[in-house]
Amino acid sequence: MPWYLYLALKQLFPTGKRFPFFTAISIVGVSLGVAVLVIATSVMGGFGAKIREMTVDTQGDVQVRASGLIANAAATQAQLAKIPGVIATTPFAEGPVALIYEPAGNAGGRKPQFPAMQGIDVDRIGSVVPIERYIHDGALADLDDDSVILGVQLALSLGARVGEKVEVYSPRGFETAKRDEVLLPRELRIVGYFEFGHQALDNSVALVTLRTMQDLYGLGSAVHGINVKVKAGLDPDVATTRINAALPPTANLHARSWIDLNQDFLFVLQFEKNMMFFLLMFIVVVAAFSVTSSLLIAVVRKTREIGLLGALGGKPRHVAACFCFQGFIIGVGGTIVGLALGFSVLYVRDDIVRLFTQLTQSEAALVRFYQFSHLPAESDPSYIFAIIVSTVVITTLAGLLPAWRAARLKPVEALRSE
């Protein structure tokens, strides 16, 4: 090992000292920055991934819609099935309804809710979106034309439970009212709840069969769209391009990937994550300044030693390398400790959040504002790589100024210094 690297290591970890204070403080400063960066980007990534996962789990990879209704869903599905990469399709109809639950003995009833009702093809939806895994207190197979599966928060808002009935009022009632006709509400039995873990969905969506939804909206056999699942690993945007190219122009159909459908939201998520990374990187920059300050003090304190190194034949660039390398070692050490700390905190994040919310009695608020019942985290390797490289580069640069000062010292003047 070259002498200047050896000396840099020895100055950071002197012989006989178990706890080199300057080194420990410098490494802790950098590691805190790295840990915060890892935690923040991973949690942001977790939120993003959770939202993406839920989006795909409810919408499928690609959605095909017409400018109006798709009159012949079966024919369109047959066309889609022939396109390479398309694995499965399922039609859907959707729209807002009014739901009212009147518990026995409460003639006044309760406040109505206005969820978005999704009409799904019970036999085919499982091949496109894994909705079954989100259903509890019932099963998808229980859903028939006289039943409904409610979002768990929606059921709570209504006060309705599995086995009880709710009344569904379709917007078609407004049209029939113009003709002095009354469209009676449809009674549906609750056969289960679904819980995506996302407040907005769990509070405002109800699932019925496609036929029920077609009846409620008077669609006949038409549907609003078709959700498509593509082969694993196939880019949804590529699949979308293929589908649009394969669909006959006269059909007036248009496919959009889930990424395209949610591009504004995805952009905001990515932008927030990038801004978080940028702002939190300043913690590392501040830590790097403290490293610079400490190394500058070391240069002043060791002026005569630096003179000695020159007198023993050390070249200025090697003296500089000695101090630069100290910044590098602090960066590497801080990064390793910071990664370990960050991932450890992520590992116990739910316990920490639980403890915090218990102490502050804010568990309900957390679910209400952040939409999730547990803290998601997903570490993007590219961000982790960026954190590692940025930290090591910044701390190495932190050693540059002290290194430059040390290299400029003339041995004879350094040795003469008091």
């Binding site: 002498w3 020895k10 006989g16 000695l308 007198a311 034949g313 070249k315 004879v412």
Partner: protein, 227 residues
């Protein structure tokens, strides 16, 4: 210049030649002439002392001889060629008044540092460092930090370090200045003995007339020239 098969100058041949060295330093709006045309020849294996009053330019002279500072005028040659930073570590060893050991390294590593700076670090160098420490009476304290050593012990480590690369010339700048009389005498004895054993030329800057008398040639620096 005559050299042996080891590349070292043969005994008696000049390894250090200084001609007309002058050096002045600014002091306010004028310059103080410290050296005014100094000539010096040091031969291989020879011991030379330089005495002088405080401020007479002894340390300045030593810095010029070590190539740490450049003279205003005059020439200097190390074994027939101009001083060169790359050669310094192998050609000469320096012992300072304030020891200048590296506090983070133990005695053994401080001695070995001289070889490390030349890029030589093998079993032979480790053995030599151990031998040198034994030679200066510090075999038992090889793994003690400078802070755990007395002044005399630190200076002995510095002597061992200066001899580590088998230099042809050893420059000692008041090596006993920070030591008590008894310890200082012991260090000078050791220095002279080791230089004689290793056939290393010695230039000793000292205030002490007794120490100067122990060298083969004693010079006195006054008003910028040798008297």
């Amino acid at each position: 210049m005559a050299t042996s098969v080891t590349g070292r100058a043969e005994i008696g041949s000049a390894i250090l030649t200084a001609r007309g060295l002058t050096k002045s330093f600014p002091s306010g709006d004028r310059r103080i002439e410290v050296l005014r045309g100094v000539d010096l020849d040091v031969h291989a294996g020879e011991s030379v002392s330089i005495r002088g009053e405080s401020g007479s330019g002894k340390s300045t002279m030593l810095n010029l001889l070590a190539g740490l500072d450049a003279p205003d005028t005059g020439t200097l040659q190390w074994a027939g060629s101009a001083p060169n930073g790359d050669r310094r570590a192998s050609f000469l060893g320096i012992v300072f008044q304030a020891f200048y050991l590296i506090p983070e390294l133990d005695a053994f590593q401080n001695v070995l540092m001289a070889a490390r700076m030349l890029g030589k670090l093998g079993p032979a160098e480790r053995t030599k460092a151990t031998d040198l420490l034994a030679r200066v009476g510090l075999a038992e304290r090889a793994h003690h930090l400078p802070s755990q050593l007395s002044g005399g012990e630190r200076q002995r480590v510095a002597v061992a370090r200066a001899l580590m690369n088998s230099p042809q010339l050893l420059l000692a700048d008041e090596p006993t200045g920070n030591l008590d009389e008894h310890t200082g005498d012991a260090v000078i004895e050791l220095l002279l003995q080791l230089c004689a054993e290793t056939k290393t030329a010695l230039v000793l800057v000292t205030h002490n007339i007794e120490h100067a008398a122990k060298t083969q040639r004693a010079l006195f620096l006054k008003e910028g020239v040798f008297r």
